[in-house]
């Protein structure tokens, strides 16, 4: 079934859906412009704006539900953004199941994280600025998912990049943070090149860049064109979603405050790539090669992320690794076409919940441990911070796919879809699940169980309510979210109008053979982790470890590779270029000037001051003249 047709819409809550973006944007503007004056109440404003946006989203959602399934793709024209010769971009919002589910996730989880941050950033002098950036991010992210054309998406795309840059580098006095922020932006820019290129090709192919004007016509374009478009877009997606080969920035991004990691680098922004692929499904479906590449990227990343996760002692880095890996799953699913879209989005939302809850949990732990991130200095925290322990635990169970929890439904859905599509992919996905089981358990046990390995002078305590409540709410989501979305193909049916659907819906069964196999593999990983990190004592300094361990610790040498391939040559190129500019081009010019001056200096000497030599010159001049005259005259 093709996706439903996109129709104009005006009035109603949907007509006012632009408020979703406008409110947080306004919040950001106020907080940034009023400066220190709004320090006291700034954070509240930020939260209010985010919540308001959430409310609007909910209202829009219900109005959308109210419409018939086939008319759930509404475009709200805002204004004539870019009228030019042949390119004429009208800025508008596309409200359909896909975009609204993202909007809900962003505003919902976003608001929770806003609230959490009140507590987390309580002691930071620049809290106001922090909330301004958070609001800015929410606005940009919403524009990304709500825009009805690729240019709007692109603007939001780089907008979230900016927000992420600002938030990663929020503690600017830390050079490491500044560097990480810059790295994130630049690596993302590489991806953005791809996205821009994709947009160019889309425009030159269809003469417009609105979804309505392009996606339905995808069939009319040649496979080659579609492949080109898809691969270009995929490059963009890789940048934003930290997929191999553009994954390197995500781990460094953990330099930012933990709520940022939760909101941007776990729950929302990094999933933008998945959104892009699903949104542009029409192109990918026309280009099987591109789809294959997507799935491969997905699998590679999910394994890479998992492996990295196994070796990290920094709790946030470990979680970042797992984020990479989970998004790998989503990518894999998104590469499977309509069969995978629903489950991909479902996993995305579920992941939004449990990963956010775990990040915030980690934040709560760090909060308790004086910002200590090294898990080897944790241990036995379960007893002192109960709520964190429970909520984190639920999230942990959800991600490893403990039966009936979110991850169980969504991830298995992906694995099964992959199996049907291609055995190899499927088994690799299972393997990934196993590793996930291992490293998440490792993380969980190292943090909350085993011997207390705290620094002296550390007195962990439960975090304040403003931080724990969001944890609780999120953990609820991470428990039931998956089941809610998957059972009865809810997500599938809901998304169908937006992304289309294959003829027969996938059959959902609570227990499947593949499910059991996966479960077994996960169990093995978890148990092994418990043996090594739960029961056995964890050394306070990391052992040297095998070659494999170092390989994983060094992020699979991703950075080393970038350095060798791009940074070093780049530095050389720069030096050479600067030298060439000064000595080469400028040298040439100055050299020419010098040459003329030199000639002049030497030529002056001819003017000896002896009158007879002047007479001589006249004499020869006359001779020359006569000679010349005869020559010319007798030609």
């Amino acid at each position: 079934m093709e996706p439903a047709e996109i129709v104009q819409h005006s009035g109603g809550v949907i007509g006012a859906s632009w408020l979703m973006i406008a409110l947080p944007l306004l919040g950001a503007a106020i907080l940034l412009l009023t400066g220190r004056r709004s320090d006291r109440a700034g954070h509240l404003l930020g939260v209010a704006m985010s919540l308001a946006s959430f409310v609007v989203a909910v209202l829009v959602f219900f109005e959308l539900i109210g419409l018939g399934a086939d008319s759930r793709r509404r475009v709200v024209e805002l204004y004539d953004f870019l009228p030019s010769g042949s390119l004429d971009v009208k800025m508008g919002l596309l409200l359909d199941p896909l975009s609204i589910s993202f909007a809900l996730l962003i505003t919902g989880v976003g608001s929770l994280i806003h609230i959490y941050s009140i507590g987390y950033m309580a002691h930071d002098p620049n809290r106001r600025r922090f909330f301004a950036y958070l609001n800015l991010f929410v606005a940009a992210m919403l524009l990304l998912v709500l825009a009805d054309n690729y240019l709007g998406l692109y603007i939001g795309w780089e907008g979230v990049g900016l927000a992420s840059y600002l938030l990663i580098g929020f503690w600017q006095h830390k050079p490491s943070a500044a560097v990480a922020a810059k790295k994130a932006f630049i690596v993302n820019r590489v991806g953005d090149m791809g996205l821009a290129l994709g947009i160019f090709v889309i425009f030159t192919t269809f003469g417009t860049i609105s979804y309505a004007g392009t996606l339905p016509l995808a069939g009319n374009a040649s496979t080659g064109t579609l492949t080109l478009i898809s691969l270009a877009l995929l490059l963009g997606a890789c940048g934003k979603s930290a997929q191999v080969p553009l994954q390197s920035w995500l781990l460094d991004a953990m330099e930012g405050p933990t709520p940022v990691s939760a909101l941007i680098h776990a729950a929302t922004m990094v999933t933008a790539g998945v959104y892009l692929v699903v949104r542009s499904g029409a192109f990918f479906e026309g280009a099987p090669t591109a789809q294959l590449v997507v799935t491969i990227v997905g699998v590679v990343t999910l394994l890479a992320g998992a492996i990295i996760g196994t070796a990290k002692d920094d709790i946030k880095k470990a979680l970042a690794g797992s984020t990479m890996s989970q998004i790998g799953y989503m990518m894999l699913a998104a590469g499977l076409g309509p069969a995978g879209y629903a489950v991909a989005i479902a996993h995305l939302i579920a992941h939004g919940f449990f990963k956010a809850s775990m990040f915030l949990g980690a934040g709560s732990v760090m909060h308790a441990m004086n910002d200590e991130v090294n898990m080897r200095r944790y241990g036995g925290l379960a007893s002192v911070m109960k709520i964190t322990w429970i909520t984190f635990g639920l999230g942990y169970l959800a991600i490893i796919g403990f039966p009936l929890l979110s991850g169980y439904w969504t991830k298995d859905g992906i694995i099964e879809a992959a199996m049907e599509h291609n055995q190899i992919l499927g088994w690799l996905a299972v393997l990934g699940a196993g590793i996930t089981g291992f490293y998440m358990s490792r993380l969980f046990f190292m943090t909350f169980h085993g011997r207390r390995r705290w620094e002296e002078g550390v007195h962990p305590h439960e975090s304040p309510a403003v931080m724990t409540w969001p944890l609780i709410i999120l953990s609820i989501g991470s428990v039931f979210g998956g089941a809610f979305l998957i059972l009865g193909n809810r997500m599938f049916e809901f998304l169908a109008p937006a992304v289309g659907r294959p003829e027969e819906a996938p059959t959902v069964h609570a227990i499947s053979t593949i499910g059991l196999v996966t479960l077994a593999v996960v169990a093995v990983g978890a148990v092994y982790a418990w043996l090594r990190y739960g029961r056995a004592a964890v050394p306070e300094v990391a052992p040297r470890g095998s070659f494999l361990t170092t390989f994983a610790r060094r992020d699979l040498y991703g950075d080393a590779l970038n350095e060798a391939l791009f940074m070093r040559p780049g530095q050389w190129l720069t030096r050479i270029a600067v030298f060439f500019d000064n000595r080469g081009i400028d040298g040439l010019v100055n050299g020419l000037a010098a040459a003329i001056g030199g000639t002049s200096g030497r030529l002056r000497r001819v003017q000896t001051g002896f009158v007879r030599s002047y007479a001589l010159s006249i004499f020869f001049g006359a001779a020359l003249l006569v000679g010349a005259w005869f020559v010319v005259g007798n030609l």
């Binding site: 050079p175 810059k182 160019f200 003469g207």
Partner: protein
């Protein structure tokens, strides 16, 4: 009402008045200059509102015979392109005046303050004139005469290397200008119409060889002015040595005369030659984009760095001009305006920093963000506009240029895309080195922007953001003019691979 003559007359009279201010009274001179520039701004806005985008090509036209013996007229008039560029100039001037309030009266230099400001006003008149001229000769006159005030602003009020930079700037431009003079003369005698009026010279030169030579004559002059790689090396010196205000006018407006000239004269007077040389020009532009960016990364002096970024940006503009598509043309024109604002803001902020710290070496700064958040913030915004972040006006123009170029020349456009990444590198790296990290001892006491400086920067930031989200007003003015230009070049308009008629079918399924 002779709008344009008034626009030129007011600053000239203002300059005389400022020059006549008694010696001791610098403050009055400054206030007078500011007032005059604001009056000009107001007049320009008044004129702009009466401009009819759909109207005839040269509006507010005035034509008087100036030197009948040479067929020279005092002929002015504006189309959309000229209008926005004039607007750019008159917006920047008051900002520059306010920004360089204390630039001229450094204690060490015993230089006349009022001269500096009257020079600015003279320059303003000439900037308006050069864009308004619809007589090739008149354009040339302004084109050359403009050099002199700028020459003195750099030479008398610039940094340590000022006289070298000033002479380099003058000779480079003069050389190009003289080659153009030959072309102008040849154009006149070949056209044989005994007039220099631009409209009457369009399409007159038919002979392809002649076109090529004349094109080169004009083009080299403009390429030096713009500056296009490899004619660029004067710019870093000039921009780095000039006082911040002068640098803004130099890079922001004067250099635009080059790209404007390409769009107006090279394309329309010699269309065939322009098409013939397009591959060459596009290549140079792409080289300039990448090369300028890479060299910018390697700079240690912030003003030089900004200058090199401009070289990269001018690459984009020339590429857009010679792509000869409606989108690229509009984008290039818009780029000229936005680049003026963005680079202007960068230069001014750099000027503020240098004024405070007394050094233009990036390495002498660090952690400024902590002590001067507003300064750092605005600097970041300006920087982001320079790397053309979406939501800022520079993005719109760069996007248009790239997509417009892509319509006809895919590969150059793709290579140019890498400029996006490089831009991120040079801007963010500079920001990281100067603004972040632990606060350097030398800048511990660095004061944040004062009110005057905030007033200077605010409008620029506002314009960058405003036109970033709503470029329509500018584009509506520019588009018809660009179309007009392209029609006299007569290039085949771009058509998508999948015709729109297929939409019905596709949607129907």
């Amino acid at each position: 009402m002779p709008w344009l003559s008034i626009l030129m007359g007011v600053p000239v009279l203002g300059a005389l008045a400022v020059a006549a201010v008694p010696k001791g009274n610098d403050r009055l001179a400054k206030q007078l200059t500011l007032a005059v520039s604001l009056v000009v701004l107001a007049l320009t806005l008044a004129m702009a509102f009466q401009f009819d985008p759909a109207g005839p090509r040269d509006q507010f036209a005035e034509v008087y015979r100036w030197i009948p013996a040479f067929g020279v007229h005092y002929a002015v008039g504006v189309d959309g392109i000229a209008l926005v560029l004039i607007a750019l100039a008159v917006v920047l001037v008051p900002i520059v005046v306010l920004a360089s309030w204390h630039d001229a009266d450094r204690p060490d230099a015993r230089r006349s303050v009022k001269t500096y400001f009257s020079l600015i006003l003279v320059l303003e008149a000439m900037m308006i004139g050069v864009f308004a001229a619809t007589d090739v000769f008149l354009f040339y006159v302004f084109f050359e005469a403009m050099l002199i005030p700028m020459y003195f602003m750099i030479g008398s009020y610039g940094g340590a290397q000022r006289s070298y930079a000033a002479v380099k700037f003058l000779l480079y431009s003069l050389f190009g200008g003289l080659l153009m003079l030959v072309a102008v003369i040849a154009l006149y005698s070949m056209a044989g119409k005994n007039t220099f009026l631009f409209p009457e010279l369009i399409g007159v030169i038919k002979d392809p060889t002649a076109q090529k030579w004349l094109f080169l004559g004009f083009f080299i002059a403009f390429a030096v002015k713009a500056p296009l790689w490899p004619f660029h090396t004067w710019l870093p010196d000039a921009a780095a040595q000039a006082p911040a205000g002068a640098a803004v006018l130099l890079v922001g407006v004067l250099d635009k005369v080059g790209t404007y000239g390409m769009l107006r004269f090279c394309l329309e007077l010699f269309p065939d030659a322009a098409k013939f040389f397009t591959p060459l020009v596009i290549t140079l532009s792409v080289i300039g984009i990448v090369y300028g960016a890479i060299v910018a990364i390697g700079q240690t002096d912030m003003k030089r760095l900004i200058a090199y970024t401009s070289i990269s940006h001018f690459g984009f503009i020339t590429m857009g001009v010679f792509a000869m598509t409606a989108d690229a043309g509009a984008g290039a024109t818009l780029y000229m305006v936005n680049h003026g604002f963005s680079t202007g803001a960068l230069f001014l902020l750099a000027g503020f920093l240098i004024h405070r710290r007394g050094s233009h070496h990036i390495s002498d700064y660090g952690g400024v963000q902590k002590v001067a958040p507003v300064l750092a913030g605005t600097f970041l915004v300006a920087g982001l506009s320079s790397l053309s972040l979406p939501g800022l006006s520079t993005f719109v123009s760069e996007f248009l240029v790239l997509i417009g170029t892509f319509e006809r020349y895919a590969v150059p456009s793709i290579i140019a895309l890498s400029g996006m990444v490089l831009a991120a590198v040079y801007i963010l790296w500079m920001y990281q080195r100067m603004m972040t990290g632990p606060t350097a001892e030398s800048v511990k006491a660095l004061p944040d922007l004062n009110v005057r400086e905030k007033i200077v920067i605010a409008p620029l930031v506002a314009l960058l953001i405003g036109f970033g989200f709503f470029p329509k007003p500018l584009l509506d003015v520019i588009n018809p003019a660009v179309k007009q230009t392209l029609t006299s070049v007569n290039v085949t308009p771009f058509a998508p691979a999948v015709p729109a008629t297929a939409e019905k079918k596709g949607a129907g399924q």
